[in-house]
Amino acid sequence: MRYLPLVWKNLWRRKIRTLFTLACIFVAFVLFGLLMTIRTAFTLGVELAGLDRLVLIHKVSLIRPLPIAYQARIASVPGVQAVTHNTWFGGIYQEPSNFFAQIALEPEPYFRIYPEFRLRPEEMKAWLADRQGAVAGRDLAARFGWKVGDRIPIQGTIWHPKGGGNDTWEFNLVGIYDGEPAVDKTQFFFRYDYLDENRSGGEGQVGWYIVKVDDPARSVDLAHRFDDMFANSSDETKTTTEKGFVESFAKQIGDIGAIMISILVAVLFTILLVVASTMAQAVRERTSELAVLKTLGFSSVTLLTLVLAESLFIAILGGGLGLLFVWAVVQNGDPTHGLLPMFVLPTRDVAAGAGLILLLGLLAGMLPALQAMRLRITDALRRN
């Protein structure tokens, strides 16, 4: 501890260089934080998906609809707490590039199964009273500047209103749902009965089912049970846990995780190299000083600690500020206004970042520190 002033003085002996090094490490960890945030967005919040929720889709493909009659049969299985269904609408709001998820569902059961979506009771009441009612996530509403009471026209692409002619479906925004930062607030929900009564074709069919089970430990058994129940019918099913479903969908995007991690490795390696060579340079410049310190009776271990402390200090300051910066940006909300389904920096990645910071500091300082430790006084003094 009493050598701290010495470490401090050494650090600022070349102010510009130290500041540059700090900046480098800062940048590296800003990149680290952003890439981890992007990775989380692309893996679609696998960590948040429930294990006690099962997703039941058509065995041939997600795009094949299932009969609504399955709902009662699923509900009758012991161990099922609740079952509801979703139907993908896939419409266009103003421009095809304004993509967001629009889902037809049963309001009450759905929001009961997904308590993470928070809707005010009076908004739910208004929704149940209005067949054309719809609710939007907070991020989605912010993206298009929607307010409760707005009338939102969406052009149907898959589902067309009866009577042909105009393909536009109109919705009344009756509420805006909210949730924790990690919850996807970019979706648009409306009532299935409105869709089913007014569409031409596809009546009595739903996209997929969501089943909440009593005991997550029995999820796999129940999944088999459902699939067996509908086996050999014309609409066979494939049931997975919601987590498994989200994971396998995220894998369809490609291995975003692996790409992000390889980029990070390249980035951190480059930074490590720069920082390590700076440290080496800083120590080399001071060779004769270190020799003097040794002559004065500083032990080899103390010198090792001094040099390591210096590099650790730079790493922790620069890296810590970098992580803090990303954290602040993330708290501020998604800069893409809802293009990414979520914008969070998971605690796990913050911890990993902290670990990397320490590792970077140790690795960068190790070589020069060892050099300082092994320094032979006479050689070092003679060199000057």
Binding site: R17, F20, T21, A23, C24, V27, A28, V30, L31, L35, I38, H58, K59, V60, S61, L62, I63, R64, G90, I92, P96, S97, F99, Q155, T157, I158, D167, N232, S234, D235, E236, K238, E247, S248, K251, Q252, I253, G254, D255, I259, I263, A266, V267, F269, T270, I271, L273, V274, S277, T278, Q281, N384
Partner: protein, 395 residues
């Protein structure tokens, strides 16, 4: 002239002595190489995706879908609609028959080879004319499917990316079993990720009645699009949208390539800051170790500009070495790497290969030279301003 020859002389001395300082120059070289690798690799993903999409589109073909649909997935045309489309003027004829194929586009769940997890594989129901319309496509192994049966042919990329798609194997999907009888290629374009079967069979299996999603036609020439489109748009019997096939695919690749490119540039720019710093450090060290030599040159009458240029040249030369190394590694490591991703417009998989194009390599090199220039600037100024007397006295 004197000035120029001085500059050349000092610069040459500097460049020739680089090998002696190689270890201290390594930071600059490796740092810059790292940036170039990341930049080129990330952008090669976008290039590959774009190429797969572009390869699929021809400007002498048109795709007809329901008006308002921006992808086949959300389109729908009845059998009679497609018959009307085939009567439009401007379609190429082969004898009496029009070169047009009414098609059905669906998704089938198949496991991805690399992960074993299920993927949305596109499946296309075709008519017998499909290979006439796509005249660049051909069967590369096995044989053509027999219409009226459950036989399928698979694209070359699909057979590489998804499990169980070899000639002779069977695909069980729900109550139906498809038999793979051949593999086709289509100039590396998107259709190579698809599975093709008889449209009529697929209508039955997916319970689509007599309906299709698109009609792909071979035009008489690229200029025939106008009359073809006008006739269809003016026809009150149907409500369709017509697009040139090349435009259709180009629009689909736009979102993803823009996203990848912006991510790539941002990351490379941030990394570039560190690399430039690495170069600055290297050059400061180089200047510091040669302070005496530089001062001697100045004392002999070499002017400050010559010294400045020589340091800059050294920094740029190191950067060029880094850029070339980075480019070579990116090329060897990533060019041709096969992968697949989901195309959100069609909700199905697209297989593509990373493409490290000459343009990308050139851009990497330009970036590295720019980094070298930035990194060399401050040290060069310092070298040229070195006070001669003190520098000579220094060790």
């Amino acid at each position: 002239m004197n000035w120029l020859s001085q500059t050349v002389a000092v610069t040459l001395v500097n460049l020739r002595t680089i090998p002696q300082r190689l270890s201290s120059s390594a930071v600059a070289i490796i740092g810059i190489a790292g940036v170039v690798i990341v930049l080129v690799a990330v952008l090669s993903i976008a290039e590959g995706f774009k190429a797969a999409m572009r390869g699929a589109g021809s400007d002498s073909r048109a795709i007809v879908m329901r008006s308002g649909a921006d992808a086949e997935m959300t389109s729908g045309l009845t059998g009679p609609d497609t018959d009307i489309v085939k009567q439009a003027p401007g379609i190429k004829r082969d004898g009496q028959a029009v070169v047009a194929s009414a098609e059905l586009f669906v998704i089938i769940d198949l496991p991805k080879k690399s992960t074993g997890t299920s993927a949305n594989v596109p499946m296309r129901g075709i008519e017998t004319t499909a290979f006439k319309v796509r005249n660049e496509a051909s069967i590369v192994s096995g044989r053509m499917l027999q219409f009226g049966t459950n036989e399928v042919i698979v694209g070359r990329a699909a057979s590489g990316q998804f499990a169980g798609l070899d000639v002779g194997s069977e695909i069980k999907s729900g109550q139906v079993t498809w038999t793979v009888v051949g593999v086709f290629e289509d100039d590396g374009g998107v259709p190579e990720t698809e599975i093709w079967c008889d449209a009529k069979t697929l209508q039955g299996v997916y319970r689509r009645g007599n309906s299709y999603q698109s009609v792909l036609v071979q035009l008489e020439g690229p200029d025939s699009l106008g009359p073809f489109k006008d006739w269809l748009t003016a026809n009150p019997q149907i409500n369709v949208g017509v697009r040139r096939e090349s435009d259709y695919y180009a629009a689909q690749s736009l979102t993803l390539t823009t996203l990848i490119r912006s991510v790539g540039f941002v990351i490379a720019a941030l990394m570039g800051i560190a690399a430039v710093f690495g170069a600055i450090l290297t050059m400061y060290t180089a200047v510091a170790t040669r302070a005496r030599e530089i001062a001697t040159l100045r004392a002999l009458g070499f002017n400050a500009t010559a010294v400045l240029v020589s340091v800059l040249a050294e920094s740029i030369a190191l950067a060029a070495v880094g850029g070339v190394i980075g480019g070579v590694i990116a090329y060897l490591g990533f060019n041709g790497y096969q992968t697949s991703t989901i195309n959100f417009q069609t909700f199905s998989q697209v297989a593509f290969a990373f493409r490290v194009t000459p343009e990308l390599l050139l851009m990497g090199l330009v970036w590295s030279l720019a980094m070298g220039l930035l990194g060399g600037l401050l040290p060069a100024v310092r070298a040229s301003r070195l006070p001669i007397v003190t520098a000579l006295r220094e060790l």
